[in-house]
Amino acid sequence: MPGNKTVSDSHIFQFKNCRILRNHSIFVEDLWVRDGKIIDPEKLFYVEKGYADFQIDCKNAIIAPGFIDVQINGGFGIDFSSNFDDIEGGVQKVAKGILQHGCTSFCPTIISSSKEVYKKVLPKIKIKAGGRDGAEILGVHVEGPFISKEKRGAHLLENMATYDNGFSDVLDMYHDISSVRIVTLAPELPRSLDVIREFVDRGVVVSLGHSMASLSQGEEAVKHGASFITHLFNAMLPFHHRDPHLVGLLASYKHPPDLRIIYYGIISDGIHTNPCAERIAHRTHAKGSVLVTDAVAAMGLPSGTHRTGTQMIEIQDKRALIAGTDTLCGR
């Protein structure tokens, strides 16, 4: 049953018995594809008088665009912050492994590390298009080291740093920022506003997190170009009705008028955030919600104790903790 050969020789695929995501809803609707593009079956029917060459029964599966993970520390035994033997191979292993989970683009995330580590690792992670062999590498997310030591979470104390000399300290630390696309920093650190401006000018997304900042410190940071919040609720001061801290950014009226949307990462594993807290955030500012995995090297590995990076991680059921403590460390 061919399509109209006068228009195109390519085969037309009709995905039947499926649900599709469109305009923020999931509908029961067929999806038609030709030449790797989604086509309008109504136009095909009436104008081209064409129909499907192949019909595929999706057995009620959902067809959706691939997921984008902007915070993922590793997986399948690979830790981006500490696997130095074959950095490209390690990144590729994760890129391939996450495909089967529906993730087609990601930002390999490096946690607070030493100067030497950044020098070794950052130049080796290249922005790369995705395909059959792995998800797209959008760029690196450097989570730290310019963060609050009180809110470092699973990051090591000896790696905490400040940028009292402004951006030159940043370049000194990271060395090569050509593949950096997201930076998590704590805006209460002195010189933050200058640093934020510099990053934004270079096209890097500035995300606030691992921070003790008050709401007004957060608002200043946003005014200077910060546009993301790293794993909302985690590693920051909690919402308080007299100072909502960074959580309050979701409802602030002080944002600059040209700021499109303030985005916030949420680790939605039912453990890092109580579902009610997630819903409150979502109901306040649904458009900014970005799900992240914050996955660690142990992702995809079975329960037990594993070495990831510089630490031992214990996987108990669904929780990943720093071995011997109660501190959560990603998914």
Binding site: D30, E42, K43, L44, F45, Y46
Partner: protein
């Protein structure tokens, strides 16, 4: 005429769909012998379309050798506008079944030369061998397709200006904004439908009851264009209880009494009694 009276809308939809299915199956359509079906749009036939889709999904009916001709389409409304009759037919019928695109005929309300488009449509019907079964509805003013009161009873496919009542009634589909409602349409004529070998008119709801009364208990009149079918050799009116509210009790009783006969029309043609004995 036959007047099939059923309890409610759902029963009407089911009966009508089963009748169409029976007619197609009995016809045994094939590549040299297409079944030609005339089709309406609107809320009345929706239930029937749903049922026909069910039959197709169950594998009981195929539209592979069926050619369809729709009654009408708005003028100057983009083909993919959600209120166009092309959209209606695609979303409510064609996309769910196995009809071939070249066999689904609809008038093009955006044609350069509308008169030529209408003449071409009549040609296509002729080329297809005429219409085997034309399904239609009835407006509250007794119109069939867009043949408003005053339309010639021997009219053919042509451009019609819609009357104020119709435009107002349609405003609800255009966000209540009358200025958005099309004022012209291309429509098959009364004569075009009369040429069909069989006609089936669906009428449901109390708001259509006066029109049904005028159509079948009063005379033939161009003011109630559906009344023209009193002159057609094979017409079935399928309606629900509410649509009979303006009819004489006598009329209703008479036709209800014929229900057993009407239901026989839905049955598969039975084999000769002698060959049945071997079943034991």
């Amino acid at each position: 005429m036959r007047l099939v009276i059923l309890d409610n809308y759902d029963k009407v939809s089911e009966w009508a769909a089963r009748y169409i299915k029976r007619r197609i199956l009995d016809f045994e359509p094939g590549p040299d012998n297409y079944f030609t079906l005339g089709l309406p749009t609107g809320s009345t036939p929706l239930g029937t379309y749903k049922k026909l889709i069910e039959f197709y999904k169950k594998g009981e009916l195929s539209f592979k050798y069926v050619k369809t001709f729709n009654m009408d389409e708005y003028v100057a409304l983009p083909r993919n506008h959600p209120e166009s009759y092309h959209s209606f037919m695609w979303h409510n019928f064609f996309k769910h079944i196995d009809i071939l695109p070249e066999n689904a005929h609809l008038l093009d309300g955006n044609a350069e030369d509308k008169v030529a488009e209408c003449e071409h449509f009549e040609e296509e019907i002729k080329k297809a061998g005429g219409i085997e079964l034309f399904m239609g509805g009835i407006g509250p003013d007794g119109h069939i397709a867009f043949n408003e009161p005053g339309s010639s009873l021997v009219s053919r496919t042509r451009v019609k200006t819609l009357n104020q009542d119709t435009v107002e009634a349609n405003a609800r589909f255009f966000g209540g904004d009358i200025s958005q409602v099309p004022t012209e349409a291309l429509t098959v004529g009364v004569g075009t439908v009369m040429d069909a070998r069989e006609v089936m008119i669906l009428i449901t709801g109390a708001h259509k009851s006066y029109a049904l009364y005028k159509a079948i208990e009063e005379g033939v009149s161009h003011m109630w264009t559906v009344s023209a079918f009193q002159m057609h050799p094979k017409t079935i009116f399928v309606c629900d209880e509410d649509a009979t509210l303006e009819l004489k009790v006598k009329t209703v009783k008479y036709f209800k009494g014929l229900m057993t006969l009407h239901n026989k029309l839905l049955e598969e043609k039975s084999v000769e009694p002698s060959s049945k004995k071997t079943e034991e």
